[in-house]
Symmetry: C2
Subunit: 719 residues, 2 copies
């Protein structure tokens, strides 16, 4: 699955931070957060079925039924009411703001968010995954990108102005605020929903017009107006991710984090990314769609560790698992008081400013200040008894601003999680083979149906794929919303078909299918592009050049310490030769039975991410080509980075290369062999031979026959 | 000619500055400057032959005769004396310093420097091209890099400590100063010899130990002790670089600079890089070896332009040329008073801090301060009459520090000079053909001599090459010291053979020859590697992989706005596949009848240079492989960047590619065709066909036969 080029992932932002270069400005830089705190303290379920919600966006749209056709009408009245209620809150003396920003994210920078945190969607009626709403006393505007312009036009009421991000002359949220608010305005945000970096950037941007950023911590204004209709907080049980899959026990992982704390002179670290908590504690949940994570924070200190989580989700097994690792449990909403306690203890705290939210960081800074003042007073009272300010300072207890007691640094878990251990690699390999079997069955079925002229929509086809995957051992859920795009829809990079408005798969054009799954032992992400009729010469040329890029990256060998962006050109140069390109990165990191997008590595034409590709990391290899209003092509495998044993090792360094994890045929009819070198033809044939060897034992009947047919060598086909 | 990887070129430093990233630290960051000012005011010639000196380093070594064998002895006594005299100056009341830094450079960041400015060589006895000397009251240390360790060991007296830069644990000059000087020391430099950036960086680095950087502007301490033995300043005549070669007249170029001044709200710019002055004024000189430039500064204002140059060098022709373009002339040493005058006028000045020396920048800043104070006093005296401070400020006349009146920015000439016009391209193409004819004659001759078992040294061979080039029309001089390395010497990237200590060319090993020439119409730079006997399989494999990298870069197509470093991997990946690499960049910019190394573009594995490769730029393509103590391989052509007319232009952008300028055969016997794709074989054959077509008309006799033999296609050779 390709990551949207215009949006910085948190890990990229972290890398940019480490490299001391500002992340690229984007209205979507205001991203990802959310305060379960209040919710968990006062959740009430009136959503009808009473079950906790963790729905994919497709499912969500389905449950909302007619939302996309009826929403404009609904919103025309309902939107007004919501905006009215929200604006009433602006003038409450304890709030007193002139504008309020409502981003899409939760408190953990999650890519996928539980329904109860879809506040922007609730407020605006716009259900797309990316967008930021800004409401002033007399204006309401929503920013979203090109993927969602049409959908937003349909879903927004007339009260809302659609800001088409990326279009010429469209201001960012802060530029707009500087434009529409009289100087000296008060701009409110929920600090749980902004990373510290994002909040600081926003504060700077609006200070040009002397606007003040007001962090409203005690309540979220949308939650206030949402009331009873708000979906319940997710409360699905958490499970232990067995050592068989995790490979390293929690005690060892905590020891590693503690050694990092010591090395950096820190006493504690707040882990707030949900996949980092899940990885570190060898636990999995299902609070959000697509990622097996659970809402929580973790604080690791030198001798203790505390998990902040809703107690109801913990079974006996999990409690025992945590106890064995010496992890204490506190309520999710206890995070801020714990941070305050750390400040009072004079602890030096490690915070990742690109992922930890502004509420936590500011709580710590303010508590440090408060503590310093108190100590100062006490010292003055006691004369020379007790610790002097100087002594406190020498201990690093903090300057007036509390800065001295914070180390801003990318989380110690980020890189450790990215470098997979043997058990994780084993799980990824196994789950990829089962996934490949499901895909072979699926493609065999689809080809047959299309040949029989059965009309199947993009959505129906995606649902059938889900059925095939569900039959595989250890299947949990799709790892993202399936991108099922026929013809021109394939050219929309993050196309998400809706049942009421999608194409049928035919034999006239290309069909692009980008999908993935969460299994108990691994996470998959694969794209194939097929044609069930006669592809045009143009389509074959483009497909073959995309394939050449895919092969060039797959075959790359590179010295250790090479950042991913160095290799990006290998995947593009075959397209560049005829003046073509694609507007997304070539590879993203993938978690092991975790998030389908993870950092810190990437392979992209953007030069900001200097993280070296390292042995044990997993990346996607997904060049593409998209011809607007015509067709889309993408070929995606996941790759494991491994150390090579070459005849030479110039400079005494290791040389690295890739091992394929994905084993699904690449449609030969789309390949023009006359464009390929003999090495490239060998690559295709070797790959297909490996696909047959690895996947055929998992198949029977038609699917096995289909796999045989589709793994025959190029140039050796019978006439 | 490959640029040394460890040394930042001024243009790279400029690019790094623009990208707001600090250049990589290196003791050689202290680079390039020098004050002709005093010298030209008091030059006395006692060098014997009385002629102005602009000698290549080989020539220099030759003239010094036995220096490299006798210097240790000389230095043992002479070095002491020099150090003693220098240290006596430390305590003079008007100087009062604890240490003095003597870099290798002149006042213009020149790569090649006139002999009278080789102060570091004079002081230390060490004649290598790169090095920095630091002298304290009781210590003397010289920093140089791996190329020169052996030479420096020989040439330095026992008074000197050799600091082997790049070796583990070796401190930088500033680290060393922080180590050896008692806190609060005064470190003297000649501010003409440091760019403003370099001086600021040094100031910061030594401030950790409260050392003060003392800019001694009124005299250079080495010149003080050098006295009568100092070579005379160069005074070779300057010539007009005809419009036939320059393509654009001076008036148009000045108009362009003025439009840049207006766009940036500036009143004037100081141009201090010698090649920039030469390019802008369509003039050439021969004050330094290898580059056709002359010592000067140029100030361009909105309605005037002033050249600061030694009047003696200007013929009637040149005077008329300057007059026609409206360029006034002032003495070289008048630069500082002119800068002061600009400050007094309240002019806003454009300064490139990576190239303009600290003396000029600080003169302007101090003068602005002085002027502000005076104006302030006058305003107070006159009450409300005259301009108020506020009015002055509004006009941008400067803050207290004078900063408001400076725009720090890369010189407006840098990019304009890099993008060649039609006439420059024509001249480059023509001179490359003549150069190719000289090389064909040379290789034909050498092959013959080696076959006849004539013993020829690396130096003799380089001298013979010079003879062949001298016969070509418009030849001026070599564009750098020829790198002529047989066998193991070829593995030394910047090998510079000395007559008394060099190898003979044989038929047992590879011979690497990297050379270039200045012609009236263009500048060349070419490397070829040949074997006159039977190359080993290993040598053939390495050569073929270097060639594959060369071909991959040559054939690259890329969208506009692509920085050079993106393409670097194309030249390396064939070597990486077998665990090999090379420790230098792949391409540098080349001037048109100017410096053989120019910015701002480059093709390098370092990611600091974000300058886009642009149509009309010229770059070298020179991958290599060096096996220590065994052999070296490099294949270098110069390439012109051109716009391609492709079937597609995705994103509406231009796609760019390369056109070869260099036409000299690549030795086929070193190519293992079994490693090449058919496209790569076609490349070799097409190239050789083009070489024959373009160069054979310039040859007769044996050389023509040699060219015919050496341009026959691969795989089509008769048995």
């Amino acid at each position: 699955m390709a990551m949207e080029a215009a949006r910085l992932s948190p890990s990229l932002a972290a890398a940019a931070f480490l490299a001391r270069r500002p992340p690229r400005a984007s209205p979507f830089f205001l991203r990802r957060r959310h305060p379960l705190l209040r919710l968990f303290a006062s959740a009430s379920d009136s959503s009808g079925d009473g079950r906790a919600v963790a729905l994919s966006s497709a499912e969500l749209r389905k449950r909302r039924g007619l939302s996309s056709s009826a929403s404009a009408g609904d919103a025309a009245s309902g939107g007004d009411e919501k905006l009215g209620s929200l604006r009433q809150l602006f003038s409450r003396p304890d709030i007193a703001i002139d504008a309020y920003i409502v981003p899409s994210q939760d408190a953990h920078q999650s890519e996928f968010v539980a329904e109860c945190f879809l506040r922007r969607a609730y407020l605006t009626g716009f259900t797309g995954s990316a967008g930021t709403a800004v409401v002033t006393k007399d204006k309401a505007a929503l920013w979203t990108d090109g993927r969602y312009f049409l959908q937003a036009e349909k879903e927004l009421s007339r009260e809302w102005t659609l800001m088409r991000s990326g279009n010429h002359g469209v201001p960012t949220t802060s530029e707009w605020l500087n434009e529409v608010l009289p100087s000296g305005g008060r701009v409110g945000i929920d600090p749980f929903l902004f990373s510290f970096d994002a909040a600081e950037e926003l504060k700077d941007a609006i200070s040009n017009k002397n606007h003040e950023l007001v962090l409203i911590r005690s309540l979220n204004l949308i939650d206030e107006i949402w009331n009873d209709s708000r979906p319940k907080a997710p409360e699905k049980p958490i499970r232990v991710h067995g050592i068989k899959y995790a490979g390293i026990d929690v005690t060892s992982k905590l020891s590693f984090v503690r050694s990092q704390l010591s090395e950096n002179g820190c006493d504690a670290v707040v882990i707030s990314m949900l996949d980092e908590v899940a990885w570190l504690l060898n636990m999995r949940g299902s609070d959000v769609p697509h990622s097996p994570v659970f809402y929580s924070y973790l604080i690791v200190e030198i001798s203790t560790a505390t998990l902040f989580v809703d107690n109801n989700k913990l079974s006996e097994d999990v409690l025992e698992h945590l106890q064995n690792a010496g992890v204490k449990i506190k309520p999710y909403e206890g995070i801020l008081s714990e941070v305050e306690r750390l400040a009072e203890k004079g602890a030096k705290l490690w915070l990742d400013p690109s992922s930890v939210n502004a509420a936590i960081v500011n709580e710590f800074r303010l508590s440090c200040e408060k503590y310093m003042k108190k100590k100062g007073k006490a010292a003055r009272k006691n004369g020379d008894k007790g610790e002097s300010s100087d002594e406190l300072r020498a201990k690093g207890t903090g300057s007036q601003s509390g800065e001295l007691n914070v180390v801003y640094r990318v989380s110690p878990v980020t890189l450790a999680k990215a470098i997979k251990n043997e058990a994780e690699i084993e799980g990824m390999k196994n789950s990829h083979l089962r996934d490949a079997a499901a895909l072979a069955e699926f493609w065999c079925w689809l080809e047959n149906e299309v040949c029989k002229d059965v009309s199947l929509t993009e959505v129906q086809v995606a649902e059938k794929l889900l059925e095939f995957r569900q039959k595989q051992d250890g299947f949990l859920e799709p790892s993202f919303d399936t991108i099922s795009g026929y013809g021109a829809n394939g050219a929309i990079i993050h196309y998400n078909p809706s049942p009421e408005n999608c194409s049928s798969i035919g034999s006239e054009n290309l069909f692009l299918l980008d999908s993935g799954a969460q299994y108990i032992d691994g996470t998959t992400d694969i794209t194939r592009t097929l044609h069930f009729g006669d592809p045009s010469a143009r389509q074959k040329e483009c497909f073959t050049r995309v394939l050449q890029g895919h092969i060039a990256l797959d075959q790359a060998v590179f010295p250790e310490r090479t950042p991913g962006f160095v290799l990006d050109v290998l995947a593009r140069s075959s397209l560049w030769k005829i003046g073509l390109d694609y507007r997304h990165g070539t590879g993203h990191g993938v978690g092991a039975a975790l998030n389908v997008h993870e950092g810190p590595q990437s392979i992209s034409y953007r030069y900001g991410n200097l993280t070296a590709l390292q042995k044990g990391m997993i990346v996607s290899n997904e060049p593409g080509y998209y011809e607007d209003n015509s067709f889309g092509i993408r070929i995606e495998n996941l790759l494991l980075i491994k150390e090579l044993n070459l005849a030479n090792s110039f400079g005494g360094v290791s040389y690295l290369g890739f091992e394929k994890l994905t084993f699904v045929p690449i449609q030969r009819k789309l390949i023009d062999p006359s464009l390929l070198s003999s090495l490239e033809i060998d690559w295709v044939n070797d790959y297909h031979e490996e696909v047959w060897e690895k996947v055929s034992p998992l198949l029977t009947g038609n699917a096995r026959d289909w796999l045989w047919e589709n793994t025959r060598p190029l140039l050796y086909e019978s006439p």
